[in-house]
């Protein structure tokens, strides 16, 4: 529970932890750190980066919805934009507060609303069937990350945005770097640095009006600028948000549900029996795995959290993934369970910055899961899996799968 600071209230000593949440050891398996931070208290001081951190559901949820006290315009990564120059012009959505956030959010929310997506549904269901048929026609063992989790979003999403066909292989590395850049300037950021200029130039070029087809999400964003709902200067940056945040996240979410199903065969059978659970399955996987693990906020005033105070101007690291497995909120949180109601998980965030593309991600995942459920009787891991490390994302490099068809 957060509240404006009341000087009369006592404060408890703040628990501290010297863990580096962005070390390779933690990125390989963050669950023990999450548990330790949750147990330490509602607010913990991370000494390595002089950061405040929240790992419990209640505090994370409350901070996410409280844009008044926890701002985004100072950046939602570790870097404070009021003190350091961002690596690219800030996002008009993710890295903005009201009132500047209002118009871009309104426009994009309309373009990506469940109503607008209805016209895409049949096509995406057919695309998923086609992809699954292609894959299963030639192989019963394959790496699910490139073959399904990356292939399907890359097949449908860039077309829906309306970008050209050349250079789409740059989308994943661009997103990977953007999400690394929310963390500290560690080796993961360094690894991406050599391609930043090339990738940014390409992505920015795709956002221009004449680079976009005339009927996709991109064209609809430009049309909003014709009506004056956003400015012509804002339109390409709103398109950029789609290209940055709309690919890697969905890929890792689909990887998560595929891994979950491969390791929980009883849940796969449930889905087979009740295909209408496909959407629940995806959201449960987003809760369970939390493809977006963390985001930062900055305190706009001295903010009370539990019996502690986050001083004005300080960064707060919110562990969405930890909140999504907080036993204070979830029964048996480590289980991937389709009988659970995953509603209210914070894997897409919450409040005014909640993932504006969540309905797109759900539709992509639902289409792919329905296509697989139609043909695959059982699936299992066919070899050792390998994680992909990213400062913000929980990701797989490789998920070898073996499938048995009907």
């Amino acid at each position: 529970m957060t509240a404006t600071l009341d000087a009369a209230l006592p404060t408890d000593p703040l628990p501290t932890d010297d863990v580096d949440p962005f070390s390779h050891e933690v990125l390989e398996d963050p669950l023990p750190m999450h548990a330790a931070l949750r147990e330490a208290g509602p607010l913990v001081h991370l000494t390595k980066y002089d950061l405040y951190a929240m790992a419990r559901y209640g505090e994370v949820h409350a901070a996410l919805v409280d844009w008044q006290q926890f701002q985004s315009a100072a950046g939602v990564g570790m870097s404070n934009f009021k003190k350091e120059k961002p690596w690219r012009p800030p996002s008009l959505l993710l890295e903005a507060d009201p009132p500047r956030h209002d118009a871009p959010r309104r426009v994009l929310q309309k373009v990506l609303s469940p109503r607008s997506l209805r016209r895409l549904r049949d096509g995406w269901l057919a695309d998923a069937d086609a992809l699954v048929d292609e894959v299963l026609a030639t192989q019963d063992e394959f790496d699910a990350v490139p073959v399904l989790a990356e292939a399907f979003p890359l097949r449908v999403f860039p077309d829906a945005v309306g970008i050209g066909t050349d250079g789409r292989d740059k989308l994943l590395p661009y997103g990977d770097h953007a999400f690394n850049a929310f963390g500290p300037a560690n080796d993961l950021v360094e690894k991406g640095a050599p391609r930043v200029a090339e990738l940014s130039t390409w992505v920015n070029a795709q956002c221009a009006r004449d680079a976009l087809t005339d009927n996709g999400f991109g064209a609809q964003i430009w049309a909003a600028s014709d009506r004056g709902d956003i400015t012509p200067e804002q339109a390409p940056l709103v398109v950029r948000s789609l290209l940055t945040a709309g690919v890697d996240t969905t890929v890792h979410g689909i990887s998560a549900v595929l891994y979950a199903m491969a390791t929980n065969p009883d849940q796969w059978q449930r889905l087979r029996e009740t295909p209408s659970l496909a959407r629940v399955a995806f959201d449960e996987a987003v809760r369970w795995e939390s493809p977006v693990q963390t985001f930062f906020r900055t305190a706009t005033t001295d903010v009370r959290v539990g019996n502690h105070v986050v001083p004005e101007g300080h960064k707060i690291l919110m562990f969405l993934a930890s909140a999504n497995r907080d036993p204070r909120r979830w029964t048996n949180p480590d289980a991937f369970d389709l009988s659970r109601d995953p509603s209210g998980h914070v894997g897409f965030g919450m409040g005014i910055h909640q993932c504006v593309g969540q309905h797109v991600a759900r539709l992509e995942a639902e289409a792919l899961m329905l296509a697989l459920a139609r043909r695959v009787r059982t699936l299992e891991l066919a070899g050792p899996t390998r994680r992909h490390h990213n400062n913000t994302l929980r990701a797989w490099e490789s998920i070898p799968l073996r499938v048995f068809l009907d």
Partner: protein, 346 residues
Amino acid sequence: MFSHPLRECSVGHTGCAHDDGMTATVPLAASAGADVATLRVIGKTVVAEDVMTLELAAPSGGRLRDWTPGSHIDLRLPNGMTRQYSLCGDRWDPTTYRVGVLREPAGHGGSAFVHDELSVGDVVGVAGPRNNFPLVPSDSYLFVAGGIGITPLLPMIAQADLLGADWRLLYGGRRRASMAFLDELEAYGDRVLIRPQDEHGLLDLAGYLGEPRPGVRIYACGPSPLLAAMEAGCAGWPAHTLRTERFVADETGAAVRTTPFEVELARTGATVTVTPDMTILDALGQVGVEVLTSCRRGVCGTCETTVLAGRPDHRDALLDDDERDTADFMYVCVSRCTTDRLVLDL
């Protein structure tokens, strides 16, 4: 305030005074939706001749649904009428809404009820906020308010000022004493022109607007003759310069029910009764039918459910007014039903 009441209802409010001590921290108790769709009157103040403001808050005292300048809410009044009012408070206060209400002698009694009957402590059903009149980005704004039409413009002005935009307000009314919020506008100094008709005559729109020029956004709200004059006056300006919201006469609308209704689940084959103290989502949970949700406040759209028969009473903050007549889907976390029976594709 700007009451542009569109609906008048024959039955009382549907909400329940739901206060289960739920905290804002873990808002996932079953009826989270009810806590933002049913609010309590916590303040009532006369601010001008025939104009009052109401302050509304959740029974739990928790956060209300976020809003943007230009938004309005529907009030489901305890006398069964529904009226729309623009929000004119401070969006940085997450727990309070403020609306302004003009007494309309020629209306059907909604505004009279608010003025004469509604009391601090009373509970009203709320739908929205929704925004058909959003403030779009610009470096330069001209605002024109007629009478109670000042209400949606108040938060716009605060925002334009906050952003350092170049802005002016021309505010007309019958006479000074009938014009609300003059005290709040005083702080803006000579950016604001107060023009009561009995002192200044009709508004000099041509002189105020000046020559057509690019990059300006003009916002006008007030009675129809004023907006017609604005449309004529802005004819020579670039397209999309003028944005207006019309004061709609107090008129009759659909009934909102306060009695239980039946929800039939076409695919499951079950039927469940939704009582006034529960949401449809709660009722579905009781028969083991899960609908994926996220915010449970009618803002995210995750729980969109197809409606096969019956008439939804949309209480979300997603649909625009022109989408609200739709009967083919609804957001079941907060929305209800105006008919005896609702058939969902579940």
